[in-house]
Amino acid sequence: LARAWAETPTKWYPLPIAVGALLLMFMQYRKRLPPREVHVDEEGREVVRLKGPWQVHVLGALPLRNLSRVWGYLNSVELPVWFRPTGLRVYSWIFGCNLDEIEHDLKSYKSLGDFFYRRLKAGARPPADSVLVSPADGTILHFGTIKNRRVEQVKGSTYSLDALLGVETSSSPPSTPVHFPERDMAELNDRHFADINGIEYSVQELLGASTPSSNGSATPARDAPAGIPLKENAVDSPKKHGELVDASVSDEQSTTAEVAARHASVAAEMGVRASAKRRGSGTEVKPGNELFFTVIYLAPGDYHRFHSPTAWVVEKRRHFVGDLFSVSPWMARRLENLFVLNERVALLGRWKYGFFSMVPVGATNVGSIRINFDQDLRTNVGSRRNHPTGTYTEAVYSAASPILDGQPLTKAQEMGGFCLG
């Protein structure tokens, strides 16, 4: 082989002129193609379609949502106690989980899904002293500024901001209000007033009056009128209702005083005078501001709960039912509009600089997204066929705090997570 490599003479042959001409024509043709092909509907909104190499079309033909549910079921099977330490150590070794920082003994995790949704020891993730911190453990896929309302997925490939977050339409039905649990106001007396930027507010003003519904269920909404292309107004099935309450961190489990203090803290951080009564999670930016984005990928071994990245108020959530493609960097480089095609929960609100949103995007292995303060949210249920790409169900959180007009969250407060299947 060495001799052949060294001694074989190189012979050059002239390419036929026709081949060269064809190559030049092809290159010219590629140059003249428009930079991006956009399909729009009759109202001018972008219609998102599956685009990419043959591999993504093969994956698109698979029943990903059903596979995700089967995966979730398999991972919910209870493991024998004697097997848990060994089995979970093997899983941790394969996916690089740090067992030194988990909250409980390995034997206490009943299933792989239970371990996947593990908690960390208190103080394992002290928040940094900056306005924006990471909401999750993971890898930064991309970040930057948003130009012309398009978010860059990878270099040269973008997706529409409106398609990701949804847009209001004049024909949209009203949003479903989420009711919050009744609180015992008698727990507090007149001393419990919050002084926010020189204005005193009672706890009742901060947290709102008690609602007639104490079980946290959303008001059943009427059917969406026909012909609304982008928005539905349906409420997901209430089954498994109790399972979605996060035991130790949700507002439902905190005392009224703790919740009031948290709300007051967020109000003070945001400047309640300016933010009060200012509704609307529009993405129009104020002069001197810009829209920024960052994408964080959570690998299978990472801690899969997510926390609030800043002090902000969540005004509404939009649940987009979609596909469940893998969101690995490999896929993100190949499948255009990956984050717009996949099932996701867009939480929209505001922080002290204006608009703020956080969008947990599901994947094949983690189709279930939980939001601690939203017991009505059900993800990875129902049929994908009944939910065309771009449609969503919307809920508003204005009942959580009338002054802030939404659900206040402090920096690094746990707000939900991803579950297997």
């Binding site: 900056s130 924006l132 911190v133 959570l298």
Partner: protein, 32 residues
């Protein structure tokens, strides 16, 4: 799974991260 953050901030907002960097909950992403 993936989390996308989209937010309005003053033009002098600076990210303190790099692409491909591993981050943890609570770690600084950027500041004004």
């Amino acid at each position: 799974s993936t989390i996308v953050l989209i937010f309005e901030a003053p033009q002098d907002f600076q990210f303190s991260i790099t692409e491909g960097q591993k981050v943890q909950v609570g770690q600084e992403l950027g500041d004004v």
